[in-house]
Symmetry: C2
Subunit: 355 residues, 2 copies
């Protein structure tokens, strides 16, 4: 906390989503000025835009011209090129950066963060290492030694920046911290619900991208609504089963939240994972090539997550327990006929489900 006991917020990341969320926080630090310092620091990886530093542009124009053009972030968002400077003295760190940078950034922060600091992770995906899947909020807790909550939902960044109504989910084990994060994120147009199940929330955020690839395969095959609805539903069930099987504390109610069913629906109807997978089906090319052609350097998360989850399941001899995610992997990486996306969902043995 600062001298006057107010919370001091730093956003670690400044992409499309990071900039949108900085704007939300900056509105709330003004609104709840009894709780927060008005200034919201945002770490910006420095780059040159037409000969000028991006941080300087942001601090003059209050706009991230590269990643969220046309949107005023608020005068109290201050761009800072050094991550240690941005995080120093902060009592709330909002992690919103591509997952491959998490360990490097956390390593840098370890020595500068204050003892009473807490964090919240908006990072998508799970970390696969040593044949295990790790949850980023837990990784941040481990490395920095501070509590870390998580936020995820059916949130297209630009729509949040335009103040279109939407919902999100915050997962936090400490109810006092939950109230604080609500104050920081909840607005009239960004409706937050706080739950405790931070693992379920982050599993949804990662696995939905695999299911979206399945939806894209259906689209590529010109399959109808019944098939696509079946793929999305089975996807939701496999996400839940995966969470409950391999991670403690995962709850069914989490899948009814914005981070669950709502984000899954959005990702399976729009979204780049769906789009690239649909194009891949009729291309005859490897997925990496289609990805490159269509995304202009951006990366698909669904494909790598699919691979990691498949390896994780294989190592445990459990691929047959997750037929949809397994079929998606085989279509993308093993040249399996795409039709298995529906074929492998057929229940071979008819079971009367007693619930």
């Amino acid at each position: 906390m600062s001298a006057n006991n107010k919370q001091r917020v730093a956003i670690i990341g400044s992409g499309n989503w990071g900039s949108s969320i900085a704007r939300v926080c900056a509105q709330n630090t003004i609104k709840h000025s009894d709780t927060f310092e008005k200034e919201v620091r945002m770490w910006v990886y420095e780059e040159m835009i037409e000969g000028k530093k991006l941080t300087e542009i942001i601090n003059e124009k209050h706009e991230n011209v590269k990643y969220l053009p046309g949107i005023n972030l608020g005068e109290n968002v201050v761009a800072i090129p050094d991550v240690k400077d941005a995080a120093k003295d902060a009592t709330i760190l909002v992690f919103v950066l591509p997952h491959q940078f998490v360990y490097g950034v956390c390593g840098n922060l370890r020595d500068v963060i204050s003892k009473n600091c807490k964090a919240i992770s908006l990072i998508k995906g799970l970390d696969y290492k040593d044949n295990n899947l790790h949850i980023f909020s837990e990784e941040i807790e481990r490395i920095l030694g501070i509590p870390c909550a998580a936020l995820s939902g059916a949130n297209i960044a630009t729509e949040v920046a335009e103040e279109q109504f939407g919902e999100t989910t915050i997962a936090c084990q400490d109810s006092k911290d939950g109230e604080l994060f609500l104050k920081l994120f909840h607005t009239d147009y960004f409706d937050c619900t706080v739950i405790e199940d931070y693992r379920g929330l982050q599993i949804c955020g990662a696995l939905k991208n695999i299911i979206a690839i399945g939806a894209g395969i259906c689209d590529g095959l010109n399959y109808g609504n019944n098939t696509k609805a079946a793929v999305i539903r089975r996807g939701l069930l496999e996400m839940r089963k995966f969470g409950k099987t391999f991670f403690g504390g995962v709850r069914t109610e989490t899948f009814f939240q914005s981070c669950g069913v709502a984000d899954l629906i959005t990702t399976c109807s729009g979204g780049r994972n769906r789009k690239v997978a649909a194009a891949f089906i009729n291309s005859g090319k490897p997925i990496e090539e289609v990805e490159k052609e269509m995304l202009n350097g951006q990366k698909l998360q669904g494909t790598t997550t699919s691979q990691e989850v498949y390896n994780f399941l294989s190592a445990r001899d459990m691929t047959h327990e997750f037929p949809l995610m397994t079929a998606i992997y085989r279509v993308i990486y093993e040249k399996a006929p795409p039709e298995i996306i529906a074929r492998d969902l057929r229940t071979r043995k008819v079971v009367v489900d007693k619930e």
Copy 2:
């Protein structure tokens, strides 16, 4: 049962969905000829098509040229113009007709059905009378004095007839009957799951049409993905709350079935309720007029169900407990500004949900 103890199937209804489902049953009565009589009788409301009786056309061409053109129903589907003749001696009655005809038809059947007969209802909607909502399978049980199961799912009739892969849900309280219905309906392309919660299943089938109107209102307002995802998710929660509040035995798992989340997704992305509501928003006309212009005599179910649910909730002073369904009613029937669809979803009091 017939003399040789085999089950005898009659389909009560022969529209688009009735004809598709007759075709599914006719495949299974051949496949499981130890259990079923091969012949599947289908009651067809007689009409003249180019000077010829529809029943005769169906029995000669094995095609319902009016309601499911281009699809061979199977030679063992026999069209019968008299509902009593169709149902006589049947041991399984499959009700698949518009809900306004249920009471009339059941009245006709009361005296002819055999004592060991059972039924399954594919009727959509709930019946509103005496300020109460009634579930059709229970109405059929009451009138005919036989057990009645129910079937509902994310099933576009034509896609089922084309054998595109899809799922459905059968709700049945007796597990032996459940096995029998599985034999009658389950195929490689029509994947059935049996549950016990027949009330939840039928509530989903009725209320999803209201939520689809909400999705259509979003589309009419050009709202983005975040808002629409929020409306669908809140819709799912209100459907569940409605079921659990007013009907016994409704279970959360039902909403994960094809009859729940999958059918809701399909209805909110395609579907006539969504389409007409979207057109209504910018028309300046009453919904009935838009319906007439767009549907060529077909009726919306979402609008009447919305009205009935609103009356039901009003009589109990509980409209505020279901803000989404209430907002949808007010936009459609009370000229409320359509923007309340999102505005009324805002949580006015921020609550930390402990699950």
